[in-house]
Amino acid sequence: MSKVKQSFSEALAELQDGDTILVGGFGLCGIPEKAIEAIKEKGTKNLTAVSNNCGIDDFGLGILLANKQIDKMVASYVGENKIFEQQYLSGELKVELTPQGTLAERIRAGGAGIPAFYTATGVGTPIAEGKDTKEFDGKTYIEERAITGKYALVKAWKADTLGNLVYRKTARNFNPLVATAGKITIAEVEEVVEAGELDPNDIHTPGVYIQHVILGENYEKRIERRTTRGGN
């Protein structure tokens, strides 16, 4: 049965105030820009958003912040966003900073049914405060808990009608991880093909993780830092 849906309102029907959303992307690269716009329109409040970054003031998750729809942010780096800074300093927004590798692994573990794991990352730093530690072979590790969410929002390059996904270049980043850890995962893509048209060898995310596929149009794909070496 085809997983392709015509609208986000259908795919997001079960999103409620207070839910946790897992959002793919790194900076503005590979973010599910259409799903974020759709949540802004829907107006769902008190969301916990798990994402490596929080967009910029007027693009990506930044637009949900500006609209005061996010209550808590779990991220590794949030330095690009003024509205974030204001809401954080005023106490409106709760923030859980997580080392990037730990964040990736927490989401991967969540999708793989692993409730927690040990890592050396963060030992002896403020990140270790309040966390259980354990020694293995004479080295100290801290316990980190898995992350799952009600919805996962994924941006891929291509999908087939069964939700098998292919990503493009570094737009892959956190997308395959969040895809596995959402109770309901929506993949928005630039192209949808019939099942069988993607080579099974090339599929990055098997369709088993995906509930809804939506064909997005006119992707903006805004660039955060345009750096060139000159020339054409």
Partner: protein, 215 residues
């Protein structure tokens, strides 16, 4: 000053290595890698084999580095997801990480991600890199803008990692962190040992084989 540090730092990279360069001054090290070296630069967001910045025509929003700058990929590069990227880092598969620093202590602690009272931006991948890379090299100016030694007895800022630095390269000296403590292995030609000691809060031993920094 930065140029001197960068030119010394590139000597930590040898042919065939997989290397991660931090944001800021460490990124400049890439320009100094000898052209005949086969070195793959890793980017935490999912690229092994960062190439030069693109031309206007090559620029691709789906291809950026961890500093969110548009880049290209070299021949032999690979793309992967963030969990794979940090498996590579945390599993000890990256030969060298060269990172910037705010403070380094005599026990090899590093602080480089937050200043209390200022807006917290986040640690990104720094805490993973210092724990996982086979060798962690920190590059920074020896003395702060306010004239204070950044090479400390103990870090005053929140740590990125405890006893994680293998080598510290500053504009004045190169130190190694060993089981016997911090050792001065190289010093700049234009500074005396007494002057260096005065500019260094940390306690260190002088190597029997002390050299001058060669650029």
């Amino acid at each position: 000053m930065r140029e001197k540090i960068v030119r010394r730092a590139v000597q930590e990279i040898s042919d065939g290595m997989n290397v991660n360069l931090g944001i800021g001054m460490p990124t400049l090290v890439a320009n100094e890698i000898p052209a005949d070296y086969q070195v793959l630069l890793q980017s935490e967001n999912g690229l092994l084999g960062i190439g030069p910045y693109p031309t206007e025509a090559e620029m691709d929003p789906d291809l950026i580095n961890a500093g969110k700058e548009t880049v290209t990929a070299v021949k032999g590069a690979s793309y992967f997801d963030s969990a794979e990227s940090f498996a590579m880092i945390r599993g000890g598969h990256i030969d060298v990480a060269i990172l910037g620093g705010m403070e380094v202590s005599e026990t090899g602690d590093l602080a480089n991600w937050m200043i209390p009272g200022k807006m917290v931006k986040g640690m990104g991948g720094a805490m993973d890199l210092v724990q996982g890379a086979k060798r962690v090299i920190v590059i920074m100016e020896h003395v702060s803008k306010h004239g204070e030694s950044k090479v400390k007895k103990a870090c005053t800022l929140p740590l990125t990692g405890q006893a994680v630095v293998h080598r510290l390269i500053t504009d004045l000296a190169v130190f190694d962190f060993t089981d016997e403590g911090m050792v001065l292995v190289e010093k700049a030609a234009d500074i005396s040992l007494a002057e260096l000691q005065e500019k260094t809060e940390a306690l260190y031993r002088i190597s029997d084989d002390l050299k001058e920094i060669a650029l």
